[in-house]
C-alpha cells in the first residue's frame, strides 16, 4: 500500500500543477472508513438504485431472520411488511413542512406554454378520434389514462419492517451489530446465508443517504425478562454507531426474536415482481419456514398480502462451523490462525487447526518441511520465511478432500416439496449429489427437474439457489443456466426443450460460494468442478424422469393403438354383416348349398340373432384382449 502511495504521488502533483488555481490540499492522504467506502460503492452490496435497494433491503433482513431462527433450531416465522409512505407523510415524519410551489418554472417537470398547447391539442385529437370510433360502433381500447407525470426528485419512501422468532440479540451488542460496517457474527468458516456483515448495515447506510431516518431495532433473547429497544443511525465517517435511544422495555408476552424497522427510498412499481419472486422462491427452498409478506399503501387496490405457509417441520441440520482445509489457506490466513491458536507447538497446530491432518500426517509434513523444523517448536516463534515454507508445502501436499458434514443442504425432500408447491408439475425428480471440493471448500449440488405444471412457461424455467438463498439476477451468465441450456441433451431424456414446461431447480451449498461479480447474484460458469457437478445432478434427475416419461408415453401409445383399432371396428363388422345379410336374401330366393355351420350362421343372421352389433361387440372384445395381452407382455 505504501509503495502504491509513493508511486502515485508524482502524478498527483502533476495534476495539481495543471490545475493551478486549486490549493495543494488535494495531495493530503485521506482515509476512508469502511462505511464511507460502501456508501460510495453501494452497488457492490446490491444497492444500485432505489428499486434494487428496496429489494436488497428486504432480502438482507429476511435472510438474517432465517439465519437467526435456524441457529437455535427454531422453525422460522418471518413477517415482512413494506409500507409506502407518501410525500407529505414523509415530510411530517421528518418534521418538514409541506411547501407549495411558488416559482413553478423553477422545477424540472414544469410544463412550458408551448408544451402545454401541444399536449392539449394531442388530447383533443385523441378525444375526437374516440368519439368518431364510438359513433362508428367500433370497439376501442380505452386510451391509456395519461400517466401522472412524475417529476425528478419525486421519490417514494417505504418503511420496511421485518419481524422474526429468532435468537434475538444481546442488549449491549445491538449498536455495534447495526452501526458498524464489517462487523458480524458470521465470519467463521461455515455455510451461512450472509457472509460479510454488510446486509443490515447497508440498509441503514441507504436509509441515512435517502431519508436520513434512523433504524429501529426491537429484540429479546431467551429467558430475558425485558425487550431491548434501540434507535440508532451510523456515523459513516467514523464507522461507528450513533445511538439515539437504547433502552430495556417490559417483555410481558415473553416474546423472543427481533424486529427491525427501517425507512428507505425505493421503487415498488418496478421491483414488485422481483420481490415477490424472491419471497416465493425463498418459500420453495425453505418450506419449513413461514412467511407473511405484506405491502401496505394508501391505495387499497395495490396492497398485497401473501402468506407462505409452513409445509414441513423437518428442518435441515444447522451448518457446523468447520476448520480450514490445508489446501485452501493463504499466508495471511496461516498467520491469523497462528495468532489465534491456543496450541503451543507446530505439531498440535497442524493437527488441530486444520481438517484432514492426522497426527502421523502432521509428523510427515513437518519432516518434509526441512531440517530447521521440528514437531516441538513453538508455533508462535516461526519466522516469516518458515511460514512461507509451510504455506508452500500445504499448497503442494496431498490431502483428503474435506467432507460435506459441515454443510447443510436443503435436502431432496424439501426441494421436492418446494417444486411441487411452486409449479404443481406433472412429474418431478430430485437428486442430491455427494460433497465435492473447489479450492479446499466443500460444496454440495442438489437438483430438481420437473415437467409440466400450472402457470409454467414452455421451455426451461431455471431456479437457482446458493446457500439456500434464491438468486434472481444475472441469470444468463450463471453456471446453472448455461449448463441447462447448453450441456444437457434434453431430447435424449424424451424431454422437448422448446415445448415442454421444464422446471430446473439447482441448489448449491458451500462454506464459500464462488460468486461472480459484485453482488451475491450469480455463480460463474468457469469453475469446472461446479459446472460438472451441476450437469451431473441435472442429468441424474433427467434419468429418473426419463423412465417415468417413457412409461407415460408407452401408456399413451397403447391407448392410441386401442383407439385406432377400435375406430375400424364398425367399418369391418359393417362390411362383413352386409355381405352376410345379402347372402341370407340370396339364400332365400336361390337354393345355394352351404355347409351346416354356414347355414346355421346365415339363419341366425336372417332371424336377427346375429346383427352388426354382435360382430362389433365380439370384435372389440377381441381387440381388448389383444391390447391387454400386449400390455402384459410389455410389462413383463
Amino acid at each position: 500500500m505504501d509503495g502504491d502511495g509513493s508511486s502515485e504521488s508524482p502524478i498527483e502533483t502533476k495534476k495539481a500543477k495543471s490545475k493551478t488555481p486549486r490549493k495543494p490540499k488535494e495531495t493530503i492522504l485521506k482515509q476512508k472508513s469502511p462505511a464511507e467506502f460502501f456508501a460510495e460503492n453501494k452497488n457492490i452490496a446490491g444497492f444500485d438504485n432505489p428499486g434494487k435497494s428496496l429489494y436488497t433491503t428486504v432480502r438482507e433482513l429476511v435472510e438474517n431472520s432465517l439465519d437467526s431462527a435456524e441457529s437455535i433450531s427454531e422453525l422460522p416465522v418471518v413477517e415482512i411488511t413494506i409500507e409506502e409512505i407518501g410525500k407529505s407523510k414523509f415530510n411530517s415524519m421528518i418534521g418538514l413542512v409541506d411547501r407549495e410551489r411558488v416559482d413553478a418554472a423553477l422545477y424540472d417537470d414544469y410544463e412550458t406554454e408551448k408544451a402545454r398547447e401541444k399536449r392539449l391539442a394531442k388530447e383533443a385529437r385523441a378525444q375526437e378520434m374516440q368519439a368518431k370510433n364510438a359513433a362508428l360502433g367500433k370497439k376501442v381500447k380505452d386510451t391509456p389514462a395519461s400517466k401522472a407525470i412524475k417529476g425528478r426528485g419525486e421519490a417514494s419512501f417505504y418503511r420496511v419492517t421485518c419481524k422474526d422468532n429468532g435468537k434475538g440479540m444481546p442488549h449491549d451488542d445491538i449498536p455495534n451489530m447495526f452501526g458498524r460496517v464489517l462487523s458480524g457474527t458470521k465470519y467463521g468458516l461455515k455455510q451461512t446465508r450472509g457472509k460479510f456483515g454488510l446486509g443490515a448495515k447497508m440498509a441503514l447506510i441507504w436509509s441515512k443517504m435517502s431519508t436520513g431516518l434512523p433504524i429501529e431495532i426491537t429484540s429479546s433473547m431467551k429467558n430475558q425478562n425485558y425487550v431491548s429497544f434501540c434507535r440508532l443511525d451510523i456515523d459513516i465517517h467514523k464507522n461507528i454507531p450513533h445511538v439515539h435511544l437504547h433502552e430495556k422495555r417490559e417483555n410481558k408476552e415473553h416474546w423472543r426474536g427481533a424486529e427491525i424497522q427501517v425507512v428507505i427510498e425505493g421503487n415498488w412499481t418496478t421491483y414488485r415482481s422481483k420481490i415477490l419472486h424472491y419471497m416465493r422462491q425463498m418459500a420453495v427452498i425453505t418450506p419449513y419456514a413461514q412467511f407473511l409478506f405484506k405491502f401496505v399503501s394508501d391505495a387499497p387496490d395495490k396492497n398485497v398480502s401473501i402468506r407462505f405457509a409452513r409445509r414441513t417441520d423437518v428442518m435441515p441440520p444447522i451448518p457446523m462451523e468447520t476448520k480450514h482445509h490445508p489446501s485452501s489457506v493463504d499466508l495471511l490466513l496461516i498467520k491469523r490462525l497462528i495468532a489465534e491458536t491456543s496450541k503451543q507447538n507446530l505439531l498440535q497446530f497442524l493437527q488441530h487447526e486444520f481438517v484432514n491432518i492426522s497426527k502421523s500426517y502432521a509428523e510427515r509434513l513437518i519432516g518434509e518441511m526441512g531440517p530447521d523444523f521440528g514437531s516441538k517448536m513453538t508455533v508462535k516463534s516461526l519466522t516469516s520465511q518458515q511460514l512461507v515454507r509451510i504455506h508452500q508445502l500445504l499448497r503442494q501436499a496431498k490431502f483428503d478432500d474435506p467432507s460435506g458434514h459441515c454443510l447443510s443442504p436443503a435436502g431432496e425432500y424439501n426441494l421436492r416439496l418446494g417444486i411441487i408447491k411452486e409449479l404443481h408439475p406433472d412429474m418431478v425428480a430430485t437428486y442430491s449429489g455427494s460433497a465435492q471440493v473447489f479450492e479446499g471448500h466443500p460444496f454440495i449440488v442438489e437438483a430438481g427437474v420437473s415437467v409440466g405444471g400450472k402457470n409454467v412457461k414452455q421451455g426451461l424455467n431455471i431456479f437457482r439457489f446458493a446457500n439456500r438463498i434464491p438468486l434472481l439476477f444475472e441469470q444468463g451468465a450463471d453456471v446453472v443456466t448455461r449448463t441447462a441450456h447448453k450441456r444437457i441433451n434434453w431430447s435424449s431424456y424424451k424431454i422437448n426443450q422448446m415445448q415442454d414446461k421444464i422446471g430446473v431447480f439447482v441448489s448449491i451449498v458451500s462454506t464459500k460460494i464462488p460468486f461472480k461479480g459484485t453482488g451475491k447474484e450469480y455463480i460463474g460458469d468457469d469453475i469446472t468442478e461446479i459446472a460438472s457437478a451441476v450437469k451431473y445432478a441435472i442429468q441424474q434427475c433427467c434419468v429418473q424422469l426419463k423412465s417415468k416419461i417413457v412409461k407415460k408415453m408407452h401408456a399413451r401409445e397403447q391407448q392410441e393403438r386401442k383407439r385406432n383399432l377400435s375406430r375400424y371396428i364398425p367399418d369391418a363388422s359393417g362390411a362383413v354383416y352386409n355381405v352376410l345379410k345379402e347372402m341370407t336374401q340370396l339364400h332365400a330366393s336361390k337354393k345355394i348349398r352351404y355347409g351346416d355351420d354356414d347355414a346355421e350362421l346365415l339363419s341366425k343372421v336372417s332371424e336377427n340373432l346375429i346383427t352388426k352389433e354382435t360382430l362389433c361387440e365380439k370384435l372389440s372384445k377381441h381387440v381388448e384382449q389383444v391390447y391387454s395381452l400386449a400390455l402384459c407382455v410389455k410389462v413383463s
Binding site: Y568, D571, A575, V579, L580, M583, L601, I610, K618, V623
Partner: protein, 417 residues
C-alpha cells in the same frame, strides 16, 4: 415452312430432309414388312408356354378369369370364414399374397414377371394392419354387390363409395389388387375397371359391346380402348404390324399423317405408363391377329421401362402377368444409337439426371433387359453418353420427319431389336 412442306408432301422436292434419299420406294419397304409379318405370325404360334409347362422349383401364383358367380361364391365363403372367426372371439385376418419386390420373379422362359406364392397375414387386431384389413373387408363387400348386380364400376367409383374410410384412391386401388390376388381372379373379373386411357387408330375393325368399330374411320384422335376387354371381339385387320407409341404427341403426328395408310398398321398408345386395359387390348390384338409389335419410345430409361411393362408386366400386377403381357415386342426407336446415326443435333439432346442414370444402371441389372443383348448394348451406350432424347427430338428436322423419313427408313432397314 412446315406448312408448305405438308402441302408438297407428295412432291419429290422433300430432299432437304436428311437421309430421305436413302429411302427406297414404299413398295420395296412393304415387301420387307410382309416378310417380317409372315415370319412373326408363324413363330408366335409355337410360343404358348404356360407356367404349368415349366417345372419351376417353387410354386407361383397366377390368377385366372373367373365368372361373376364364382367370384361371388369365393367372397361369400371368405366372409363366412371371417364371420365364424369373429363370432368365436378370435377376431379375423386375411391371408393376402405378398406383392412386394421380394416375391417377384422374372421367368426367362416365359419372358415375364411372375408372382411367387409367399403371402402375409393381415390381422385386424394389429395396429399396423388394422386399416388395411378394414379396407379389405369393405372392398370385398363392395365387389360382392357388384357381382350381385352384375355391373361394372371404375376404380374411382369404388373409391368414392367410402371416401372416409379409403382416404386416398391409392389405398383402395392397392387393396383392390390385393383382393383380386387373394380371390385368384383377374381384376377385370371383379368388374372394376380403370378409366380409359389408351387409344388406337389404324387398320383394325373390332366389336365393342356389339358395335362394330372401324379404326380407320375414327378421325384423328382414334378410338379409345374400351376398359372391358371381355366385351371386345371380332378383331379383323389387314395390317402388317402394330406400332406401339409411348407418347400422345407422336401418336397424333402419325394419326394425322395417316401413317397407317402408307404402311398398313395399327397404332396404339397408352399415353405414358400403360394401364391394364391397354395392355389387355394389345395382348388380344397380338394373339388374335398374330402381328408383330414394334415400339416407339423415348430414348431414356423411362421409355425402356414402359416397354418392359408391356413386355414382361409390372411388378404391381405380376399375379396377372399371364393375361397382361405381350411377348416379343421389338424396340424400334428412338434408341440411343439413333441419336448419332440420325445426327440429332446437340441442342435436342438432354443430359441425364442423377436419377436417370441410376434408373438406367438398375435396368441393366434387370433380367428382361439382360436376355436381349441388343438392349443391353443400347442401354449401356445411354448410361455412358449420359444423354437422353425424346421422340420429339426428331422434329428438329421438321415436324413430319418422324412419319416421312425416320419410321420408313427404320422399317426399310429392319432396324429393330
Amino acid at each position: 415452312m412446315a406448312d408448305n412442306k405438308k402441302r408438297r408432301r407428295k412432291d419429290p422436292a422433300g430432299d432437304e430432309l436428311p437421309f430421305k434419299n436413302k429411302l427406297k420406294p414404299d413398295s420395296a419397304i412393304m415387301e420387307t414388312l410382309k416378310q417380317f409379318s409372315a415370319s412373326s405370325s408363324s413363330s408366335s404360334v409355337s410360343q404358348t408356354l404356360t407356367l404349368q409347362d415349366l417345372s419351376l422349383p417353387f410354386r407361383c401364383r397366377e390368377v385366372a378369369d373367373l365368372s361373376l358367380s364364382s367370384v361371388q361364391s369365393n367372397i361369400e365363403s371368405l366372409i363366412l370364414r371371417i364371420a365364424h372367426s369373429i363370432l368365436s372371439g378370435h377376431g379375423f385376418s386375411f391371408d393376402v399374397p405378398s406383392r412386394s419386390a421380394a416375391n417377384q420373379l422374372y421367368v426367362p422362359e416365359l419372358d415375364r414377371i411372375v408372382l411367387k406364392d409367399k403371402s402375409s397375414l393381415r390381422p385386424f387386431a394389429n395396429i399396423s394392419t388394422v386399416r388395411k384389413s378394414a379396407i379389405t373387408a369393405r372392398i370385398l363387400q363392395l365387389i360382392h354387390q357388384l357381382c350381385i348386380k352384375g355391373i361394372h364400376v371404375t376404380k374411382r367409383d369404388l373409391f368414392y363409395t367410402d371416401v372416409k374410410l379409403f382416404q386416398d384412391q391409392i389405398q383402395s386401388d392397392a387393396v383392390l389388387d390385393d383382393v383380386s390376388c387373394m380371390l385368384g381372379c383377374t381384376r377385370s373379373s371383379l368388374n372394376v375397371v380403370a378409366a380409359e386411357k389408351g387409344v388406337v387408330v389404324g387398320r383394325l375393325i373390332f366389336s365393342d359391346n356389339g358395335d362394330m368399330i372401324d379404326c380407320t374411320k375414327m378421325g384423328m384422335g382414334g378410338k379409345a380402348i374400351p376398359p372391358n376387354i371381355d366385351r371386345v371381339g371380332d378383331m379383323q385387320s389387314d395390317a402388317l404390324f402394330i406400332l406401339l407409341v409411348e407418347k400422345d404427341a407422336a401418336y397424333m403426328r402419325l394419326a394425322e399423317d395417316r401413317f397407317y395408310n402408307r404402311f398398313p398398321c395399327i397404332i396404339v398408345t397408352a399415353k405414358g405408363q400403360p394401364d391394364v386395359s391397354t395392355r389387355l387390348f394389345l395382348r388380344k390384338m397380338k394373339t388374335e391377329l398374330k402381328l408383330p409389335v414394334l415400339a416407339l419410345v423415348d430414348s431414356d430409361p423411362y421409355g425402356l421401362k414402359i416397354l418392359s411393362v408391356y413386355g414382361c408386366g409390372s411388378k404391381n400386377m405380376s399375379y396377372d402377368s399371364a393375361n397382361l403381357t405381350t411377348p416379343d415386342i421389338k424396340w424400334l426407336g428412338v434408341r440411343p444409337s439413333d441419336l448419332d446415326k440420325y445426327k440429332i443435333p446437340e441442342q435436342c439432346r438432354l443430359p441425364m439426371t442423377e436419377q436417370d442414370i441410376k434408373t438406367g444402371k438398375d435396368l441393366l441389372e434387370e433380367d428382361f433387359v439382360k436376355k436381349n443383348p441388343g438392349w443391353v448394348e443400347e442401354l449401356t451406350l445411354m448410361v455412358k453418353t449420359k444423354q437422353k432424347a425424346e421422340i420429339q427430338a426428331l422434329s428438329t428436322f421438321g415436324f413430319q420427319y418422324l412419319s416421312e423419313v425416320y419410321l420408313p427408313l427404320k422399317l426399310q432397314q429392319k432396324d429393330w431389336l
